[in-house]
C-alpha cells in the first residue's frame, strides 16, 4: 500500500528517539564518572571528557524530544502516550504543548533542560578552572543519569500500542491554552536551572574551597534560574486566574507551593552569592542555599509527580513513581548535605562587616526568606505528617498561610529599600536612611488615605498599598542616590553609565512592590456576586451595571460551547461586551468554564456563566477585582530586572572569556 511508507518513516523516528535516549543514558554515566576521577587524580585528558560528553548528552536528548514531538505533531497513534494525550482535531499549538502536557513527556522536557544547562556550562563556562568545571559537569550528569533512568524504567514515553487506534483520546482541555502551553517550559527552566548552582556547590565542596570567583560563577546561573522561575510561576498563576474560572490567582495548593519554595530559596541565594563575590563572606551559607534550592526543586518534582498530597491541581498520578523520585531526592540532597557537614568548616570567611552594612541587610533578607520558606514547607507537608503520625486526614488552607507567611513578607518589604541603599562593609544607618524619610512619609500618607477611604475593612489593603509605594519609590530613590550630585545633565549621564546589574536590581525591587500592591489590593477590595439572571435582566456589582443580553450555542474547533453575552456599563456608558462560555469537549468528555474578563489598569470585571436555572435564567458569578493585572505586571518587571542584570557585562565576563577581557573589568 502506498500509505505505509510515511508510517514506516514515522515508526523509525520513534525508535531512533528511544534509542537516542538510551544512548544519552550511557553518555551521562560516562560524564558522571570519568571527569570526576580525572579531577581527583589531576588527569587532564579525563577531565576534558566532560565538555564533549555534555554536548553529546544534550544533542541525544534533543533528538529523543524531537522524535516525540514529531510523533505528536504527526498524530502517530501507535505511541501509547500520543493516543492518551492527543487527537487529530487538536490545533497545532496544542499538539506541540501536548508533548509536555503529560507525565512522561514533561519528564523528558525536564531532562532536556537539565542537559541544556549542562551543555551551556560546557560551552560558556570557559572561565571556570578546569577541575571545578569537570566536577560540576560530572555532578550535573549524575542528576541526568538518575532522571533518564527514571524515565526509561518507570515512565517511558516511547511505549507502543500493539493495535494503534484510529484517533486519540485528546489532551485535558484545561491544558489547551496558550498560557499553559508555555508555563511548564518556563517553570522547568527555573526548577532545573537550579541544578547548575547545586552542581557548582557540590563541586566546590569536593574541592573544599569557595572563593570570591565561585560566587561570581554561581550568580548568573542563580539569576537565570530565578528569572525563569518567576516567569513560570506568574504564568501558572495567570492561567489559573483566567482559565479555571474560580477567579483566584493563588491557592496555596501543594503543587503551587512546590514551585514557590525553590523560588524563595533561589531569591535568598541570589542575594547571598553577591556577598560571596564582593565581600568573601557568607560562603558556607551560600553553598547550603545552593544545595537547598535544588533540594526544594526535587521535593517539588516529588510532590507534583507522586500525588501523595491531595491537590486541587492533581492530575492522575502514580505513587510508585514517587518512590523513585524520593530515592533520587534522598541520594542527592542527603549526599550533598553530608558532604557539606564534612567540609563546611574549612570555608573560612575573609571579609568582615559591621552590624549596620549591606552584608547584614542581606543576612536579614536571607533569614526572612528562609524562614518564610520553612513556614510554607511545614504547611505543605503537614497533611502528610498528620496522617503518618496521628492518623488524621486534614488539609492546611489559605488562612494558615495568610497568617504565618504574610508577616515575614511584610517585614522583608519594610527593610528592603533600607538594605538596598546601605553601603557595603560599614554604614551609618541615620545617614543612609535620611534619603528615604520622604518616601516613608509618602507611603504612610497613601496607606492612611486608603484606610480612611475604605472605612472599616481589613488592614491588608492599606498596608499593601503603603508597602508597594515604599518599594517602588525606594527603588527610584536608590537610583537617584547612585546618580550623585551635580547638574541634571551630569546626573543623567551618570545614571546612563550605571551598570545594568544596578538597573536590574532597582527594577526587580520595584517589580516586587507592584506585585505586592496588586496582591493586597485584590485580596482586600474584591467584590463578588452570585445570582440567577434572566435574559434581558440587569444587576449592579461594585458600581458597574451588568446586563445579560443573550445566551446561545456556538461551535468550536474541538468543542461545543454555551456562550452568554453580557454588557458592562457604568454611569450609562457601555464599557465592554463580555462573552463567558461553558465548553464541552466531546472527545475528553469534559466540560470547562471560560471566564470573560474586561481587563483594566486598575480593575478587572470577571464574569463566569454557570448552569441554567429551573425557574428560567442562568447562574452568573461576577467579580470586580481591583489591581489584578498589577500582580503579573509586577512579576514581569521582576523577571525583566533579572534579565537586565543577566546581560551585565560583569556576568558575561565572569561566564565567558575571562582572560581576553580582563583589562575591561577594572573600568566597570
Amino acid at each position: 500500500m502506498e500509505s505505509t511508507k510515511p508510517l514506516i518513516i514515522a515508526a523509525m523516528f520513534v525508535e531512533l528517539g528511544h534509542f537516542a535516549l538510551i544512548l544519552a543514558f550511557a553518555v551521562a554515566m560516562v560524564q558522571a564518572t570519568v571527569p570526576l576521577v580525572g579531577a581527583q587524580r589531576g588527569w587532564r585528558a579525563w577531565m576534558a571528557v566532560a565538555e564533549p560528553a555534555a554536548t553529546a548528552q544534550f544533542l541525544l536528548i534533543l533528538a529523543a524530544f524531537a522524535a516525540l514531538t514529531h510523533a505528536f505533531v504527526g498524530s502517530d497513534f501507535s505511541l501509547r502516550l500520543v493516543t492518551l494525550n492527543s487527537h487529530t482535531d487538536k490545533p497545532l499549538l496544542y499538539k506541540f504543548s501536548g508533548v509536555w502536557g503529560n507525565h512522561e513527556g514533561s519528564m523528558l522536557l525536564w531532562v532536556l533542560i537539565l542537559s541544556l544547562f549542562g551543555a551551556c556550562a560546557a560551552w560558556f563556562g570557559k572561565g571556570l578552572p578546569t577541575a571545578l568545571r569537570a566536577r560540576a559537569l560530572a555532578v550535573q550528569s549524575a542528576i541526568a543519569v538518575a532522571f533518564i533512568g527514571f524515565i526509561l524504567f518507570t515512565s517511558n514515553p516511547f511505549l507502543r500500542l500493539e493495535l494503534p487506534p484510529l484517533n486519540g483520546q485528546d489532551l485535558n482541555p484545561l491544558l489547551q491554552d496558550p498560557g499553559l502551553a508555555l508555563h511548564p517550559p518556563f517553570l522547568y527552566l527555573g526548577y532545573v536551572g537550579l541544578s547548575m548552582t547545586f552542581s557548582l556547590a557540590v563541586a566546590a565542596l569536593i574541592e573544599g574551597r569557595v572563593s570570591a570567583a565561585w560566587g561570581r560563577w554561581v550568580r548568573p546561573w542563580a539569576l537565570a534560574a530565578w528569572m525563569f522561575l518567576t516567569i513560570g510561576i506568574a504564568l501558572g498563576s495567570w492561567w489559573a486566574y483566567y482559565e479555571l474560572g474560580w477567579g483566584g490567582f493563588w491557592f496555596w495548593d501543594p503543587v503551587e507551593n512546590a514551585s514557590f519554595m525553590p523560588w524563595l530559596i533561589a531569591t535568598a541565594l541570589l542575594h547571598s552569592a553577591i556577598v560571596v563575590e564582593k565581600r568573601e563572606a557568607l560562603k558556607s551559607w551560600t553553598v547550603l542555599l545552593a544545595i537547598l534550592a535544588f533540594g526544594f526543586s526535587l521535593i517539588g518534582t516529588f510532590i507534583v509527580r507522586s500525588g501523595v498530597l491531595t491537590s486541587v491541581h492533581a492530575f492522575a498520578s502514580d505513587p510508585t513513581r514517587g518512590v523513585f523520585i524520593l530515592a533520587i531526592l534522598g541520594v542527592f540532597t542527603g549526599g550533598a548535605l553530608a558532604l557539606y557537614a564534612a567540609r563546611a568548616g574549612t570555608m573560612e570567611a575573609t571579609g568582615v562587616f559591621s552590624t549596620v552594612s549591606r552584608e547584614s541587610a542581606v543576612v536579614l533578607n536571607n533569614v526572612l526568606l528562609s524562614v518564610a520558606c520553612f513556614v510554607v514547607f511545614i504547611g505543605t507537608v503537614w497533611p502528610l505528617v498528620a496522617e503518618m503520625l496521628f492518623d488524621r486526614k486534614l488539609s492546611v488552607g489559605a488562612p494558615y498561610f495568610n497568617a504565618a507567611f504574610t508577616p515575614f513578607m511584610v517585614a522583608l518589604a519594610m527593610v528592603l529599600p533600607i538594605g538596598a541603599i546601605l553601603p557595603w562593609k560599614r554604614a551609618r544607618l541615620g545617614r543612609s536612611i535620611r534619603r528615604l524619610w520622604g518616601i516613608a512619609a509618602l507611603a504612610l500618607a497613601v496607606g492612611a488615605l486608603a484606610w480612611t477611604v475604605q472605612t472599616g475593612r481589613a488592614a491588608l489593603g492599606p498596608v499593601g498599598l503603603a508597602l508597594g509605594v515604599w518599594l517602588v519609590f525606594g527603588a527610584l530613590a536608590e537610583l537617584l542616590v547612585r546618580a550623585g550630585r551635580g547638574s541634571p545633565g551630569s546626573r543623567a549621564r551618570r545614571l546612563a553609565m550605571l551598570p545594568r546589574a544596578d538597573w536590574g536590581k532597582a527594577l526587580a525591587h520595584a517589580g516586587l512592590g507592584v506585585a505586592l500592591l496588586g496582591i493586597a489590593g485584590l485580596m482586600a477590595w474584591e467584590v463578588e456576586d452570585i445570582r440567577a439572571v434572566r435574559l434581558g435582566e440587569s444587576y449592579g456589582v461594585g458600581g458597574y451595571t451588568i446586563t445579560l443580553n443573550d445566551v446561545r450555542s456556538v461551535p468550536g474547533p474541538n468543542y461545543r460551547a454555551v456562550q452568554a453575552d453580557l454588557s458592562v456599563t457604568r454611569n450609562g456608558r457601555t464599557l465592554a461586551r463580555l462573552r463567558p462560555e461553558k465548553r464541552v469537549y466531546p472527545v475528553a468528555g469534559m466540560p470547562t468554564t471560560e471566564a470573560a474578563i474586561d481587563s483594566g489598569s486598575f480593575r478587572d470585571v470577571y464574569v463566569v456563566i454557570g448552569d441554567a436555572q429551573i425557574g428560567g435564567g442562568w447562574a452568573i458569578r461576577t467579580h470586580v477585582k481591583p489591581f489584578a493585572n498589577w500582580i503579573w505586571t509586577g512579576a514581569a518587571i521582576m523577571a525583566l530586572g533579572g534579565g537586565l542584570s543577566l546581560t551585565d557585562r560583569r556576568h558575561r565576563v565572569a561566564g565567558g572569556a575571562r582572560g581576553a577581557s580582563s583589562g575591561a573589568v577594572g573600568t566597570t
Binding site: N172, L174, L244, G245, W246, G307, T310, V312, H313, A314, F315, A316, A349, V352, F353, T355, V363, L364, V367, L368, S370, V371, F374, V375, I378, G379, W382, R392, K393, L394, S395, V396, G397, A398, P399, Y400, F401, N402, A403, A404, P407, F408, I530, R531, A532, K582, A588, G589, M590, P591, T592, T593, V608, G610, D611, Q613, I614, G615, A619, R621
Partner: protein, 147 residues
C-alpha cells in the same frame, strides 16, 4: 574578647534562632484556623462535629439526589456507600461536578445538613481525590476502574 568574625557569627545565629522561634509560634497560631479535618459521611454520622467547626466532607454525589433551587442554590447528598449526608451549596458548581462523581466540599454541619462554602474542582476526569478514594475503600464500595 571575641573577634569580629566570631561575634558576627554569634549574632547571625541569634537572629536566625529568633526568626525560627517566631515562625514556630506563628505556625502554631495559624494552624488553629488553617487546618480543616477531612471526614467521610460515615464519620460525620458516627460523630457529628460542632456547627462552628469547618471541615472537609468528601465522597460520591449520590445518584438522583442533585436538586437545583432558586438563585444558584443546589442540594445533593454525599455518600461513601455506608452513610450519606445532605449538602446545600449556593454558587456555580465546578465543571466536573455530577452525580456519581467524587467531590470534596468545605463547610460546616448545621442541623444535620452540611452547608458548603466551597466545592473543590478537579482538573482531570480520571482523578479521584485521595481521601475520597480511601473513604470508599474503607466502606468496600470502591472498584478499581482498571481491574
Amino acid at each position: 574578647m571575641m573577634g569580629l568574625r566570631k561575634r558576627r557569627r554569634v549574632q547571625v545565629v541569634a537572629i536566625a534562632a529568633v526568626a525560627l522561634a517566631l515562625a514556630t509560634g506563628l505556625i502554631g497560631y495559624a494552624m488553629r484556623d488553617g487546618i480543616n479535618f477531612f471526614r467521610s459521611p460515615t464519620q460525620v454520622i458516627d460523630g457529628p462535629p460542632p456547627p462552628d467547626e469547618i471541615f472537609r466532607l468528601g465522597g460520591l454525589v449520590e445518584e438522583g439526589s442533585l436538586a437545583r433551587g432558586q438563585g444558584g442554590a443546589v442540594t445533593f447528598s454525599v455518600t461513601d456507600g455506608g452513610a450519606s449526608v445532605g449538602v446545600s451549596f449556593t454558587g456555580v458548581l465546578p465543571d466536573l461536578f455530577g452525580e456519581g462523581q467524587g467531590m470534596i466540599a468545605i463547610g460546616s454541619l448545621v442541623d444535620g445538613t452540611f452547608r458548603a462554602t466551597e466545592i473543590l474542582a478537579r482538573h482531570d476526569e480520571t482523578y479521584m481525590p485521595r481521601e475520597v478514594l480511601d473513604a470508599l475503600k474503607e466502606q468496600g464500595v470502591y472498584r478499581d476502574p482498571e481491574g
